[in-house]
Every structure is written in C-alpha cells, then in structure tokens.
Symmetry: none
Subunit: 200 residues, 4 copies
DNA sequence: AATGAATGAGTCTTCATTCAT
DNA sequence: AATGAATGAAGACTCATTCAT
C-alpha cells in the first residue's frame, strides 16, 4: 500500500523534474506528467495539492540533498583548507552528478516562479553557513585575507553556479572539454580567494 | 507619423522585455503585451511575424548592445591589463545598467527556447573573441600564466554571469550590499587569473 | 451512465454532420458544435483528438454504413441483372435516406481536406469492387457489352453521384419532382450500360 | 489607367479562382490573395465590395463563359443529333479545359455559400434551355423517346457533372485513363437517351 | 487510491474589414 | 488608385483544476 503509493509519488516527482530539465517550466503540464507516469491527471492531486506544491516539493528535496552532499563532503576532511576545497568540490560534484536536481533549484526560483515561500529557503542557508564558517576559520588561520566572509561566501557560490550553469545549459563552446573547463575554473576560483604567499 | 510608428514597435519590445524580466518566459503572452501597450493583440503581428520572432528580436538587440558596450569599454584603454579589466567591467556595467536586456540574453536561451537560430549566435561570439585575444596578449606579456586561453575566457564569462545573476535574481542575502558584492567578486575573479608575482 | 456517455459523443457526431451538411466545411467550428450540443468546446476533445479526427470519424462511419447498405441490398437478389440494379438502387436509396451522411463522404474529401488517410479509403473500395464483380458477371452472361468493366463501374458511380448531388444541393429546377427525376435518371443510366437487343 | 486597373482586377480574380481550386473555400483569404498579386489587402476593396462580391463575380464570369462555350459549340452543327452531342461535348470540353473556372461554378454554390443571389442564376439557365430545346426537337424527330424533356435535360447535366467532378477531384482510380473514362462515359450517357432502334 | 467527465480561462494566430492618408 | 495601421471577432487547441464515483 504505502509502497505503491510512494512509488507513484516518486514517479511523479521524477517525471516532473525531468520535464522541467528538458523542456522548461513553460511546457510542464500536469497532463503530460500524468501521461508519462501512466496515471490520470487527477491522481497527481492525491499527492500534491496543486502544480505549485508539486514544484515546491521538487525544490525542497533537491535543496535538502544538495545540503547533505556538501556536509558529507566537508565532514570527511580535517584541515581547514581541505574542508574549504571539499565544500566547493562537493557542490560541483553534486551538480554534475545530478544535473536535473541541481537545475531545479535555480531554474524555477528565478522570475518564473517567485511565489516560493521564503521560509523554506532556510534550508538553502545551511550550505552557505557551513562555507562561511570554514572561511572564517581560514581567515583566522591566515589562509585567506578577507574583510567580509559573508560576501566571499556568496561570491564563491555565485561563481561556481555560473560555471556549472554554463556547462549544463550547453552554452559552452563545443571545442572545450567540460571536465577540464570545470577543473580549471575551480582552481581559478579557489586561487582567487587564497592568500598568495605560497609561491614566494 | 514615423515617430508614432516607431513608437509602438518600441513599446512592444520594451513591454515584452519587461514582462520577460519580471514574470518569465512562461507567462509572457501576446495578449498581456497588447493590453499593456494599449493596442490590440492583432497589432503586434503588424510588427512581428509571431511570438518567436518578437523574442528573437529582443535577444538580437540585447546581444548587439552588449557587444557594442564591451567593445567601447575596451577601446578606450591602451595597456593589456587595462583592456582586460575594461572588458570585464564593461560587461558587468552593461548588465547592471540594463538588467532586463541582460537577462533576456540568458533567460530565454536556456531550455525553454531552444529554437533560437544558431547562426544568430555569431554575434554573441564577438565579445568572447575580444576577451580571448586580450588574454592571449596578456599571456605573451607574461601577465597571466594560462595554458588554455579559450577555457579561461569562458571561465571568466561564466563566473561573471554567476555573480550577476545571483544579484539580479535577488538570491543575494539581503544584508549584503550589492555594489560591494560585485566589486569584490570582480576583484577575486581578476586575481584568480593574474600571475601573482606582485607579492613576492 | 454509459448511456449518457455515449450520448455526448453521438451528439457531437450528429451535430458536426449536420453543420457540415447545412453550412459546409469552412464554417464548421468546434465552438459552434460545442454550443449546439450544450457542452464546452473543451469537452469535444475528450472524445476526439482534434478537428480532423472528428471529421475522419464522420467520414469513416458514413462510408461504412454506405458499404453495408449496398451489400445488404445486393445480397437479397439472385440474378445478375437484379444484383446490378440492386446495387445501384441501394446506393441511391442510402443517399436519399441519409443525405447528411452521404454528403459527408463526398463534400469533405475534395480539395478542402486532402489529408484524409489514404489507407482508410480501402473501405470505400468495397462498394466499387462489388459492383465491378457484378458487371463482370453481367458481361460473361452477355447482358452487357463492355470492354473495360473498371471504367464502367466508375462511370456508373460518377453518374449516380451527379444525379444525387444535383438533387441534394438543391440545384434542381423547382418544377421537377425529385423522385421522378431520380427514377428516370436511374433508368437512363442503367439503359446506357445494358445491351439493347431487347427491342430488336 | 483603365489598363492597369483592369489588370489588377483580373489578377485578383485569377488568383482567387486558383486558390479556390487548389485550397478550397475555407482557406481562401483576402490577405493571401493580396500577397499573391503583390498588392495590399486594402486594394482588393477598390475593385470588389467584399469577399462575397469577389466570389460572386468569379461565379458569374465562369457561368457566362460556360454558356458561351456551349452555344458556340452547338451553333456549328446543323442536325439535331449533332447539336445534341455538340452541347454535351462542349460542356465537357469547357470543364476539362478550364477546370478552375468549372469548379468555381459548382464548388462554391453548394452549402458553403448559399447566399448567391438567386436572380443571377438566370444565366445558368441559358445552357439548360438550349439543351432542352434540342431534346424537344429530337423527340419530335423520333430520335429520342422521352416523356419529360425537362427532366432529361437535368439528368444529362447531372450525369455529366458527376463524371467530370469525379475526374477533377481526383477520386478516379489511378489505373484508369482519364480521357478514356470521359469518352466512354459520354457515350454511355448519350446512349442512355437515344432510341435504340438504330442497331436493329 | 484512483479516475473519467467536464469546464472556464487562457494560449497563439488569422480573418475580413475600416479608416485616415 | 493605393496603402499602412489598426482591430474585434473568431479560429483550434491546452491548461489546471474540480466533482462525482
């Protein structure tokens, strides 16, 4: 019973996420989802109050998974510098391994769907908070020289997002190797924040 | 007469761009546009063959303006390092001064609207090409130490886009000052690509 | 329940057929049909994929009914000459008893709607084939003297159609009695194909 | 001046007739016509009050031409039997030589466009009247044995129309040669009306 | 737990026609 | 003689959602 139930719910979420990824918000339709999962359109309403709730659930789950991924990645490291990199790489790895889930987080939040309840954003903050604390630690250890750790946190996030989204939206020049592009971008971003005495 | 004429076409473009910015592609409708400009929906078809053409025009114009902005910004500088920074700042300045036009370029190109004619993308490349050439010059002058200028070009672009889009989509923490955020981000991005012999 | 259900589909078909007959293909509209049957335009799409499918269903059903009518009419006769006449009269009787269904078959097939799937025409051939076989039999029995039975078959069909369509499209002189006109026309057509040794 | 004028008017008529023939009444549009003739849609209204008037003109002209063709054809013959056949062949020849003009007469008159002013039909009668008078003559000469010449007239007309329309609407089996089909049909139709003592 | 029937509002687009020039 | 601008009405079709079962 609850098995079957969960199964359909899951199928609906997966299908919705996939459509969102491949065809965009504007052509996401309850009927298409229903058809794809092999149920009636009405059935979707048994699990989700309406289209917005369905999408909100999608976002929520993705955000949660991303947060967990980052936390796990960081928890395996000991030194501050390793944690710093682990968070960054954890973020990118999640995005590349789960493009559909990653995209859902950003795609839908923009202008298309402003009604996403603000309180639910708390969860998103978990990741930011973790990175910020590591950066603060890094400053105190002299690894970085930053006046505003909060700004640095958001800036790193933003730059990473830019890099990932360029790759995932296929705007990257076809002659460029994706992995190399990502690897080099990460290095540049990290370098941009580290104190550069190392070379001396 | 010719004043009035140009005016409606322009009004349609402005209104469309604005709706695209505030409400997204999915809720952009010919009827809404018409209502907003105070004309009948039919009238739009006097100036644009259909919805796609209208949007393509929007994109084309924005891309063109952005390209021009970057080129002008760079042309006023002499040294390579100044040109490098001028391109970056020209890009960001355009984006911040014309958020709607900037967003149009990226928003609509994603999955929602894949049918944008590939040939028209040539124009977009103009900016990339300029930055790439400056980077190559920078390498030859020993300012940067990069193996793949093309990757660097795209990486910078991507990072800048990430920073701008975070600000424009209002995902930035409300306690952070936008201008400061942008300024610091630019500095970090630039630093990430320059040779750091300075400190030695 | 299942009564009501079948009813709406049927009502849609009947109404469509009637509109097609009275106002022609060009002014047949989903909205009008919906209004007439007392349902929303959307509801039509519950029973028919689109306008074309609706019309195709109409054609298919009419063709089928006509075929059956002809076959039944012929099957009740024994001699070749009787079968020959029975087919002709069966055709005409069906057309006169079901003018709307008859017209649907021809009206819509013309240039207005070329996209009727070719394979579905097989059914139409059933009637032709039957008449052709009877004519061949008639030739072998010396009743008719024809070199090309296939041409004769189509010619009879065409002439009958001309006669019926003149009547049904109300192009007949108002002073002429319809039934008499049809009766005499049939006789002339039949005479045109029989060997005229009788009088000798 | 009147040269140019007539030229555009003529072009409009020709184009309309052609569209009517190739695409049917439902997709005949003032704008398409205008585009095709290289004028503005508005210009059509300089020559024709509205769409209906345009089509009526089309019909009127075709009817007139057909009438003339039949009359000419008949006037060259002396004997009644020759006149009889000449009318029939004149009708068919006109139809086959001017399919677009022929189709206009029948296509549009049916249900699609019932509003064609009844009085204008007088002209159509000219052809009927001629055939009827020849048939009456034929009866008095003992060539035909018919009680109702008016019915015979209409019946011949109807049969011929059936034959022609089957050919022109491409409903004829592709294995049948058109000319042979028409020739044989005419012969059968004629035979159906002649007294058959001749063979004895 | 699941669905078939139904719909009002909305989508883009086309049409014949008018009006001022 | 000719036209560009404009529009109200209508076209087919899609959508999210509700309701009774």
């Amino acid at each position: 019973m609850s098995e079957e139930e969960k199964s359909l719910r899951e199928k609906i979420l997966d299908t919705s996420r996939h459509f969102l990824f491949t065809e965009g918000y504007s052509s996401l339709s309850m009927r298409k989802i229903a058809k794809e999962v092999g149920a009636s359109a009405t059935s979707i309403y048994l699990y989700f109050e309406n289209k917005d709730h369905l999408i909100h659930t999608l976002i929520e789950e993705s955000v949660e998974e991303l947060s967990v991924a980052i936390e796990e990645s960081a928890s395996q490291k000991l030194s501050t510098i390793d944690k710093f990199e682990a968070i960054i790489r954890g973020y990118v790895s999640f995005a590349m391994a789960n493009p559909e889930k990653y995209q859902v987080i950003y795609m839908v939040l923009s202008s298309e769907m402003g009604r996403y309840p603000k309180e639910k954003f708390r969860k998103v903050r978990r990741g930011y908070a973790l990175l910020e604390s590591v950066i603060k630690q890094g400053i105190s250890e002299g690894l970085m020289e930053l006046e505003e750790p909060k700004i640095a946190t958001y800036s790193i996030w933003a730059q990473l997002h830019g890099v990932i989204s360029v790759v995932q939206s296929q705007r990257l020049d076809s002659r460029i190797d994706k992995n190399k592009f990502i690897e080099e971008s990460i290095e540049h971003i990290v370098q941009g924040f580290l104190v550069r005495i190392t070379t001396s």
